[in-house]
């Protein structure tokens, strides 16, 4: 098990390395940040000074080596635009994105699994058909449109929920009663006001995932119910609830965990649309802004963090997998 983990981490290292090369070269190819960053009426001397200060005068491979040397020491470069460490910029925005992504994931599981289970167990009931039709809507309606509709209905017309921003935030260390809600990493889900701000964007983000979980669960249930071991479980005289929640459920969790894990990664990395619609100050907005002004260090740092995130999530999925399915053994075969 330990050997397995070490091997996975070494593999991860290589993936990060490969990724950094690709991203670095890719961003270099997109365009010259100097054109955007330096005012057009600056003279030649000023230009050259700026270029040298940003380290853009070196050949690409040297720029890359400098980046790599710094990266090993935990420095992913300074933003050209904000003149702040890129890592710090990203980490500042991360909690907002993380809580939104986990909120959406949570919703998709607690809504998707029961609905999918029901639709799988009673495939012909009108309720199941409604659920399945709804899931098609969830798949096909564009996120931005649903977001706008949510705002129109719940914020503008009903006035139940705030339309934009994160609301009051609190740090995890700021225990209830203590007034440390002003320092440390800020989370919205710790305050009621913050939760009300989170509700709509999280639901918006979750809609696609709910549909996905419903369909996966339903397909899994339909398939598993036909298996001999389910009939055998019934032949043993077990109650229907035991058959469903132990024998069927544990088997359908395997594909659900895989897909939900991968979805979590992409939600964290690419929830740009929802963040824009609800003016949620997360990483997605930061990366889009950075791409617009070719803020190379931020882009590179962001993508590196996302790669790490995906690797971690995949590892967690594999570990969960081995817990759910005894036939999967995490062994390191040389």
């Amino acid at each position: 098990m330990t050997v397995y983990l070490v091997r996975r981490l070494i593999q991860a290292l290589f993936v990060v390395l490969a990724m950094s090369v690709i991203v670095f070269v890719g961003v270099y190819a997109i365009g010259d940040p100097v054109e955007i960053l330096i005012s057009p009426d600056a003279d030649q001397i000023e230009r050259e000074r700026a270029v040298r200060a940003l380290g853009l005068d070196l050949p690409l491979w040297q720029q890359y080596l400098v980046f790599l040397t710094n990266a090993v020491q935990g420095d992913l470069g300074r933003s050209f635009v904000f003149n702040e460490p890129a890592l710090k910029l990203i980490l500042q925005r991360m909690p907002a994105t993380l809580e939104l992504a986990f909120g959406a994931m949570f919703l998709s599981i607690i809504i998707g699994l029961p609905l999918g289970l029901y639709a799988g167990l009673r495939p012909n009931s009108p309720a199941s058909k409604t659920i399945m039709a709804g899931s098609i809507l969830g798949f096909s309606l564009p996120t931005f449109w649903v977001g706008l509709m949510l705002i129109m209905v719940f914020a503008v017309q009903l006035g139940w929920l705030p339309s934009t921003g994160r609301g009051e935030t609190c740090s995890v260390l700021g225990f209830v009663g203590l007034t440390s809600c002003s320092s440390g990493t800020q989370w919205s889900f710790l305050t009621l006001n913050g939760l009300s701000h989170m509700a709509m964007p999280a639901l918006n983000l979750a809609l696609f995932k709910i549909s996905l979980v419903i369909r996966l669960t339903r397909a899994g249930v339909r398939e598993t119910m036909l298996m001999d071991y389910v009939k055998f479980a019934r032949a043993k005289g077990l109650s229907p609830s035991r058959v469903t929640f132990v024998h069927v459920f544990k088997n359908i969790l395997i594909p659900v965990v895989t897909v939900v894990g991968l979805e979590l990664g992409s939600t964290i990395a690419f929830s740009v649309v929802t963040e824009s619609v609800f003016a949620w100050p997360g990483m997605g907005k930061l990366i889009i802004d950075s791409i617009n002004v070719l803020d190379r260090p931020v882009i590179v740092a962001y993508l590196m963090i996302i790669v790490l995130l995906f690797i971690t999530i995949n590892l967690v999925v594999d570990l969960t997998y081995s817990m759910l399915d005894p036939r999967v053994r995490l062994e390191s075969k040389a």
Binding site: M227, D228, Y229, K231, F232, A233, R234, A235, K236, G237, L238, S239, R242, V246, H247, K250, N251, I254, L324, D325, P326, R327
Partner: protein, 338 residues
């Protein structure tokens, strides 16, 4: 109606008596009469071999007894009297009480019958606890003892294993152990040795036979393998296209089959004694249950078919303790008698 190779003692009522059972499947293409007017009975501690080709309705008969026929299938007629109580009239809760407890089932493919993601102890203990109010520890002990009884070495350790850590034969033993947990009065065994090696098959047959005689458990042994029936069963019922076409004591039926289908089946079995001779075979294929020929369903493949076979034959007693559903049985004497 009752068929017995040895005269049953008058006090012993049959463990199971199935009367005119009909289980039909209502599919889009039409009504499939998977089990059509099937009657048989089994005495205490007796083994009934239910023989037939794939799709002849043997398995559905077994599922009907346990009340495990799933839609679009449904028992549409007949009675299943288990110790005098009609199972077709029982509520689902009553049936659940009986299943795995008084009536158990063993499935064909041991690779598929155990849930792959649950440990063997979980799957055994839940069965004990479903029917008995005992502590988990007692249930575990019962599970361990039963595993030992079916010949699984070091059952304590094996309880903690997952099904994929067992071989096919061992898995089938686990499934049999699960069926035996509550010492049922009846076990429906659906081709339990078909997927196994001959040597393992032999071991399992011997053990099942021993268990049946020592505990008084009755067995319905569903199979297409006549040699298994010959070695194990007391009585045999041959099914064709959803109906029983012949039944009687095993030795009688195998030695002198009355129905041409049984005759054909026996002829299809390769044997040492017929070395060098080409195997006899039954021409044609089992007809689709959706599209049975009128009259005798076997008529189109029968070498003895005649004008009279255009009518539907009823099952009738052709000799003492011998019944067949045929107008022109193999046995000439029986034909004249009838």
């Amino acid at each position: 109606m009752t068929v017995a190779s040895t005269p049953a003692s008058p006090a012993a009522a049959p463990t199971l008596e199935v009367r005119n059972l009909r289980t039909h499947f209502f599919t889009r293409a039409g009504v499939v009469k998977a089990v059509d007017d099937v009657s048989f009975s089994i005495g205490r501690g007796k083994v009934l071999g239910l023989v037939g080709e794939s799709g002849s309705g043997k398995t559905v008969t077994g599922f009907s007894v346990l009340g495990l026929v799933d839609p679009p299938g449904r028992i549409v007629g007949g009675e299943i009297l288990f110790q005098g109580r009609d199972l077709t009239k029982m509520s689902e809760a009553e049936m659940r009480d009986l299943r795995g407890n008084r009536v158990a089932m063993i499935f064909q493919d041991p690779m598929m019958t155990l849930n792959p993601v649950l440990r063997v102890d979980t799957q055994m203990i839940e069965t004990v606890l479903a029917h008995k109010k005992v502590s988990r520890e007692e249930a575990r002990q019962r599970a361990r003892d039963t595993l030992g009884m079916v010949g699984i070495p070091s059952p304590d350790e094996r309880l903690k294993s997952y099904p994929h850590q067992f071989s096919g034969g061992m898995r089938q033993r686990v499934a049999i152990a699960i069926a035996l947990l509550h010492e049922p009065d009846l076990i429906v065994a659906d081709e339990p040795t078909t997927a196994l090696d001959v040597t393992i098959q032999g071991q399992i047959l011997a053990e099942v036979q021993k268990l049946a005689t020592t505990t008084g458990t009755s067995l319905i042994w569903i199979t297409h393998d006549l040699s298994v029936v010959a070695g194990l069963a007391d009585e045999v019922a041959v099914m064709y296209a959803g109906r029983i076409v012949e039944k009687g004591a095993v030795s009688d039926v195998l030695d002198a089959p009355l129905h041409p289908y049984t005759f054909g089946l026996i002829g299809s079995v390769p044997s040492r004694n017929k070395r060098g001779e080409p195997l006899r075979q039954i021409p044609g294929m089992t007809p689709s249950l959706l599209n049975l020929p009128p009259g005798c369903a076997f008529r189109t493949r029968c070498p003895r078919a005649a004008e009279v076979c255009m009518a539907e034959p009823e099952i009738r007693e052709l000799a003492p303790g011998r019944e067949a559903r045929c107008f022109r049985p193999m046995n000439e004497a029986a034909e004249q008698a009838a």
